[in-house]
Amino acid sequence: MFPQVLFRKKQLGIALLAACLGLLPSSSLYAAGKTVKLDKSVVPFLSEHCLRCHGEKKQKGNLRLDTLQQDFSNPLTAAHWADVMERISSKEMPPEEEPHPSAAQASKVIEWIAVQLKDGERARMSARERVTFQKLSREEYANTIRDLLGVHFDPADPTGLPEDPNWHGFERIGSVLSLSPAHVEKYFAAAEAALNEALPEAPPKKISIHWGWKDLRGGDEKKAKELGIADKVRVEVWPGSSFQGGEPSPRTIQFPTTGDYRLRIKLSAMKPPRGREPRVTVYAMDLDRLLFARSLSTPEDQPTILETEFHISAGSHQVRFLCESPGPSILPRAGRGDQRRLFTTIKESAIGRHPWQYKLTDEEGIPLMPFLIVDFVELEGPIAPSSITEQQQNTITSATQDVAQATAALKQFAGKAFRRPAKSNEVNRLVKIMSDELESGEKPESALKAAMLATLCSKDFIYLVEGSKDRPVGRVTDWELASRLSYFLWSTMPDERLLGLAQSNQLHQSAILRSEVERMLQDAKSVRFATAFPRQWLQLRSVGMFPPDKKIYPEYDAHLEQSMIAETIEYFHEMLTKNLRLREFLDADWTMINARLAEHYGIEGVSGDGLQKVVLKNEDHRGGLLTQGSILSLTSDGQRQRPVHRGKWVLETIFNKPPPPPPANVKPIQPTPVGQPKATLRMKLEAHKSDESCASCHRKIDPLGLAFDNYDAIGHWRTEEKVKDGEGANPKLDASGELADGRKFADGSELKRLLADDEDKFAAAFVEKLATYALRRTMTIDDRRALTALVSQNKRTGYRLSDIVKGLVLSDMFQNR
């Protein structure tokens, strides 16, 4: 019977989703038909170099430029112009036998077309229907499920939801977040799993596991007993080794029920005097999910108990317990523990340690490398199979008693799920689903869950819906405003207070809205904004996309990568909570680092795994986003720094002025010929851009990247570039340059100061990025006035981050559609 029910439910969900898909935005465009005037520089260029073959008399290649539309929001037209740009840029056109334009002339035309293409793209993406549907990102979906049902949902798990596509890093752009039919079943399965966990039909099966030394490592228990040390044996875990004592292979754990599990590990963590703290990681390999990570050190005789809780789905999972610290390779047997030896204490065990093993401690028993000494691992759970509140549970229980109560319960549930009062026809439809289920013989609880499942598969839950046929433009409703605000700052559904203010139609009042923003920014949930926005704005998900070459950067590991990302996010969080000036994003004398990152930056006096605010000195060569490891890494390729990428990133992310795309026929940088002196990347680039048409763009891009050549591909400070090709010593780095406006700088520090002096430009760019995130759409020319007003409004106070966030929420732009 169950499969039939499941099938029926699946059909129901798919039908609902299909219905909602039918309501997705069509291809009709808000800005369609808008044309732009050809720039003054373009008209003579086209007449002189193009129209002879692509004009009234001749249309070579079936292309006529004098009648080509200038509506760049039309994708077909944009494609034609992109083709024109590409051919001029690659010098394919004009052909060789025709007179050629100067590089400056060509460059001007290319830039003009590139700007128009960008604006056209924005216009297309920001097109608004009478009713706008903006899908929740998968992170928002998971947060909403947690707040609605009280259960965790892990969207990144293989059984979760597909990764959200992004537009220049932003993962919330409504026109980009689509729902393909192939993913419909994923949403159905996600909703069903969440409901089953929240409302289990039977008491959940639990597990309680205790692994001692025998279970973790194995060994001769009989011998241990004979020696009288059976209760003293511990497990030494070498760096890079799993608790089992070898390659980081996982343990298969059978989790009987989806839910939250509690993990406890008792251990001592041995830190070498001048080395790193050992790092414990627990990683679900089949889910590609880090369940727990902590760097710590403890005295050998004072073990500590690490405790964590994590949510995991029912089933068999491969969980790896690892001492993730730098050390020798564990591949030879010398680099790992041996179960034939019984470890008790460093001093006692040193006697029995194999002489051919790598040296773990010195003659005094002081660690030479970070390692762990584990006593046990315990796992129990699910500890809270359903976090649904008692009140909710009672409501659901009573709802199964009669139709009136069921209707009331579903109305309440759908209202919360839709983030607005459920309409009677919507409630009736849900009640009918429940009735149909009851009629087909389902138990009342099952029938109610079917109706709730339909709610969670509804377009009004999966999408943020704004507008109506009667109200295509203008102010958003208080309900819509509550959702906008909540998803902007909390990445989840509005709480009771916001919904209450919406209900009483007060939320839009400036004073109330201001106090709500302040309340929300002080709430712990605002950390989601402080995490998600910088991650998307700065495109932090690209960190580690090209894993650094282990031979060139052996010190790079997952912990360093996580610490780099954490620094940038925590930096933003500090800026937000302290309401600091935007210029501190560009140049500052502080940062947020932990011991791992401090070691990477060569800053002394920082201990512990937690990020802490550190005051920087000039000789630290850090301060601001541009010298943070995360940014320097994401603009590199794993082998070497990429000055052009770095420059492009600054233009695009900091100043919102992306350069035109490079032509398709760019030749790769050639290695230094044999016998020639070693050359820095800068020297090679200089030779590379001898072509004047390339140089015109690179003059604007390259200085912004070359200024940070003192930082290698993982953000490590250096004064010379390690070069393989060529003869002689490694060349010294030159980070000096000149901005497009003629201002000169000697190195990255001076450039940072110059950029920070351009506070107005950066503020304008930042506000546009923030508005893109908040409004889930690209900004167009129509938004320019509101954006400029917001920038001007904050200039007086020096562009303070929290003030800008509040100003944005209080602006018409945020409250209108």
């Binding site: 001048r274 047997r333 194999h354 002489p355 051919w356 790598y358 040296k359 773990l360 003659e363 030479l368």
Partner: protein, 365 residues
């Protein structure tokens, strides 16, 4: 007519004279307490105790064996021939045919001259004995290192004897009265590049002689006689080649003087007892493989357990007994647990072939 009793008397007298060539031999009446070796230190001077005897058992893997000591006239007859169980010190060495050797190179029955140190825990009732072998060498090597040879005074093939007188080459004079050794059809005569026969023996030849059955039934039986310089040289060259191969396959033994854990540097002094030309294979900044070893000089599994290292420095150090005077400082890619002061290691030049040792030699099973 010489009677058998005369022979016996003559032989014994000659033997006792020979015994006295070795310094501090048992029975010399020296009652001073025996010198005790200090762990991890070479003896500051040669204070060993000389004992000669015939190799009657050997365990070449663990560098142990037994000698049947030569009989001495200060012994009670009950103590005659009581086997001496010995263990070669880690820095103890052997010489055979005038060249460095290993125990495996010495045939059972070979008469050896030994230098021993007192082991307070060994011997009868564990009360101590001279069982720690510092040097063992065959008659060939002993005579050569003493710069002595035997002048052949007379050959009596019908009586199976040769009469020889020990000569000091340095002083060009005889050191004792003639000795009569027995020759047998099994006695090998080495001549030029090959074998000779007993008929090649001629008076006034300068011989080197290896013996067996010494003092049991006379001064001893000659097992091998080298009658010319070429044959002596070939014997030495062959043995040195054997030992070079052996050392290259297993590494030169030494012990660790110091470990700098922070810099990852190991300082080790190599033991004596190898062909010095092997030192030329160690170059600063070159690669070496270091193997942790036991006091028996056995290593574990030299393919898997070696520590590839960079040779950082080579320093000459004072040549104490047992030391080669050759000190290396190397930086292993990874320090090993056994790299602790006073521990024994073997070091192979990175240019030497690296291969598995036979199963029985490896400590790793």
């Amino acid at each position: 007519m010489v009677t058998p009793s005369f022979w016996r008397a003559a032989v014994w007298t000659s033997f006792l004279v020979v015994c006295c060539f070795t310094k501090g031999a048992e029975g010399t009446g020296d009652k001073s307490p025996p010198y005790l070796l200090q762990p991890g230190q070479f003896p500051t001077q040669d204070l060993s105790h000389a004992i000669s005897g015939e190799l009657i058992q050997l365990d070449h893997l663990n560098r142990t064996g037994q000698l049947r000591p030569d009989r001495r006239n200060d012994q009670r007859t009950d103590d005659y021939d009581r086997p001496l169980l010995f263990t070669l010190l880690p820095y103890g060495s052997m010489r055979y045919h005038g060249a460095p050797a290993e125990l495996r190179d010495i045939p059972l029955g070979t008469h050896l001259h030994g230098k021993f140190y007192w082991d307070p825990k060994s011997g009868k009732d564990g009360k101590g004995a001279f069982t720690q072998a510092f040097l063992l060498e065959d008659d060939f090597s002993f005579d050569e290192s003493s710069k002595c040879e035997w002048r052949l005074d007379d050959v009596k093939l019908d009586r199976n004897t040769i009469s020889v007188t020990r000569l000091s080459k340095a002083e060009n004079k005889t050191e004792a009265r003639p000795v009569i050794y027995k020759i047998t059809p099994a006695t090998r005569v080495w001549k030029g590049q090959g074998f000779g026969t007993l008929k090649d023996l001629a008076t006034n030849q300068s011989l080197l002689i290896n013996l067996t059955l010494c003092t049991l039934k006379g001064p001893g039986n000659a097992t091998d006689i080298w009658i010319d310089d070429e044959s002596k040289q070939i014997a030495a060259e062959h043995q040195i080649a054997v030992h070079r191969v052996h050392q290259k396959e297993r590494g030169l033994a030494g012990w660790i003087d110091a470990v700098d854990n922070e810099k990852g540097l190991v300082t080790a002094t190599l033991f004596a007892g190898f062909d010095p030309s092997l030192k030329d294979d160690f170059k600063i900044k070159g690669r070496v493989n270091a193997l942790v070893s036991e006091t028996s000089l056995r290593s574990y599994d030299q393919i898997n357990d070696r520590a590839p290292s960079e040779l950082v420095a080579i320093s000459p150090v004072p040549v104490l007994p047992g030391s080669s005077g050759f000190q290396l400082i190397f930086k292993p890619d990874n320090l090993l647990e056994g790299f602790r002061p006073h521990n024994i290691i073997r070091v192979m030049s990175g240019t030497w072939p690296l291969d598995d040792l036979p199963w029985e030699e490896r400590l790793w099973k």
